[in-house]
Symmetry: C2
Subunit: 393 residues, 2 copies
């Protein structure tokens, strides 16, 4: 395949440098809570703490990050020790008596809020799996596998969680098969689990069968149980950044399976469809929500630029380019990379702002809150660095 | 008192004309659902239906509006008949078997979503009370009183609704005493209820005691049970438009009590504090959220301009001006009135857009959705028209 090696080398150096000299130092070591364990991530642009509460998703994601850096980049004691502080807090404070995990806890671990879905659990799986790989701790590995089993039971409906909605208009979201397939991919690539391959196949199949609409070139976020479009405001709402994240999970699987042709095509068309719908031709960047028929979207932040859809699009376009050699993907990667690093990156304090207005002006300055912490950005920089490292060497 | 009668007459004419020749005709009669009853309010800028679902809050609010126009403006059959179509739908489809109301139903009334609070109920009370006044129907009047009793039981905790939060950090919100005091005011002024005066007193007392902070010139949205500030992101988040709505509920009560001096001062200072925090000096208009200590706000739409805070500020400033003669309030009224009607009003199709970017550009075009319908704008135009009518005559 004819790839632009210069371009790839340039970006390898850039992502590595950003990750290790800019993004990670913004968060660590200062965010490790030496008093209670876990991490203090709710910070303003300059790193000042604006809240000492802990978002359970982000505690898990940060353990994953530190353990993954230890497993794949360098065996730094600081990273392993940091991951351990998170694991201890997660296991001690983030599970309710009924086994379900909390969503939001106080600094000392007292519970603030539990939610009606199980994404705290999926991030706990990838956290504990990466940490078990780093330490060889079989107890932690089994804990990861056991929570993964519980996630499968939630995902299939074998264990029922309370529902936000009545039974009138049953639907399925792309979030569950997407997050579950990525959780299984992580589990497989760290400590392994015999269930992973089969379930990844099933979830990819769900995504392709129910959510990918070739006739209208679209990846839906939510559909009826049979995959038909629910023609109401919520049912019509697309999340291009999320679908593009799904696209690279599929491309990653294609790569794992020796460039499986069908999966490569599936991932590429998901990216194509949602780039067309998500890329803002006027100002650049990926928009948050779109309506499938271009009606007004109800969610108020629909045309803000959030940090994470840009991260997912950087990964997806680079992966698509390196797997296909198609110059369109190189062009898209260049566009989104330039847009994102020139608008989101905080040159003064490091890391990225999270929320821009549509026109690229900063809407608010927090680097961390209940929903933002060290995950999408460092994962993107790490993933792209690893990808390019493998190709160039 | 020395009021600018020219100014008042000009605005009386303006609000009356807007209400009757612009706002109401946008919604009626086309929104009355002749097939299933209730109203079809989810409409784009030009009136095109974008969703045929029904938001229960807004069904109730529209009944209130139509019955109130019939009671106070003109005894048009169309308004009474329209209110009846809503009342029938509300009573037949919007209550669950356990007596709690739904939040969101399908066009045919099948339930989509129930929520863990009781604002569908408070709007049902004002709807049924206004309709009972219009028709003299004692059965409906008793239904309104009975739901009001249930709201009191929810508000006091005598009937417990499921909670979103664990017990670690108990809090109280200004929403419940505010909405309950206004519900009681409406009930008192339509069909009457012996419980109203006492409860209005109690709820005003709660607002003053727990939420109004003279030392920092602020009205909090949420506080600890003892009224102290919860120094976490959510606890610090202010909603200036909401507090300004509370201010005019208090001013309205002051007026009802023969310009009660203490209440007049309380309402004025609530308006003063939150105008200072909410008015956007740079672009004009009332911002959605602010942090009490000027930290970043987490809610993504924090600096958008929504329609309804402007409506509430127009009422509050006009009421404060007419009750005090203070030229500051006339100036503020002029500012917000000019900003709002020049930025939100849709000169082509009538009614207002709902959502502007901070800089005043339209963020999305829907006139109605799950949260917007014919309420804040027509209530403002109606309230100001009635207020000025009483003063000028």
């Amino acid at each position: 395949m004819n790839l632009d090696n210069n371009y790839l080398q340039l970006h390898l150096d850039f992502y590595k440098n950003q990750l290790l000299s800019d993004t990670i130092p913004f968060w660590f070591p200062k965010s490790v809570d030496e008093e209670y364990g876990g991490y203090l991530f709710m910070r303003d642009a300059d790193g000042a703490l604006i809240d000492d509460d802990k978002a359970v998703w982000i505690q898990g994601r940060a353990i994953w990050l530190l353990a993954t850096l230890y497993n794949t980049v360098a065996q730094k004691e600081e990273w392993l020790e940091g991951a351990k502080r998170g694991v201890d807090f997660l296991l001690e404070h983030c599970f309710d008596k009924d086994g379900q995990m909390f969503f939001h806890v106080a600094r000392d671990g007292k519970p603030i809020r539990k939610r009606r879905y199980f994404f705290s659990e999926t991030f706990a799986v990838i956290a504990l799996a990466a940490y078990a790989k780093a330490t060889g701790d079989e107890g932690i590995a089994n804990k990861a596998r056991s929570i993964f089993g519980k996630c499968i039971a939630y995902a299939t409906g074998e264990i029922k969680l309370p529902s936000k909605f009545e039974d009138t208009r049953p639907s399925r979201g792309i979030g569950v098969p997407m997050i579950m397939m990525n959780t299984a991919q992580q589990l497989r690539e760290t400590i392994g689990d015999p269930r992973c391959d089969l379930w990844i196949e099933k979830w990819m199949n769900q995504i392709e069968t129910f959510f990918v609409k070739d006739d209208i070139r679209c990846v839906m976020e939510q559909v009826s149980l049979d995959g038909s479009i629910i023609d109401h405001i919520d049912g019509r709402t697309l999340n291009p950044g999320h679908a593009i994240e799904g696209a690279w999970f599929i491309l990653h699987e294609a790569k794992y399976r020796n460039n499986d042709k069908h999966l490569l095509e599936l991932g590429c068309k998901m990216l194509d469809y949602m780039w067309e719908r998500g890329w803002d031709e006027q100002y650049g960047g990926i928009l948050y929500f779109r309506d499938v028929y271009n009606n007004p979207v109800q969610e108020y932040w629909q045309d803000l630029k959030f940090w994470w859809p840009q991260n997912e699009a950087i990964i997806a376009t680079l992966l698509a380019y390196t797997m296909t050699g198609d110059k369109k993907y190189k062009r898209w990667h260049e566009q989104i990379h330039k847009y994102a690093y020139s608008h989101f990156h905080d040159k003064e304090n490091g890391e990225w702002f999270g929320y821009l207005h549509r026109d690229g002006k900063i809407a608010q300055t927090a680097k961390g809150n209940l929903f933002k912490g060290p995950f999408h950005l460092p994962r993107q920089e790490w993933y792209c660095m690893q990808l390019l490292n493998d190709i160039i060497i």
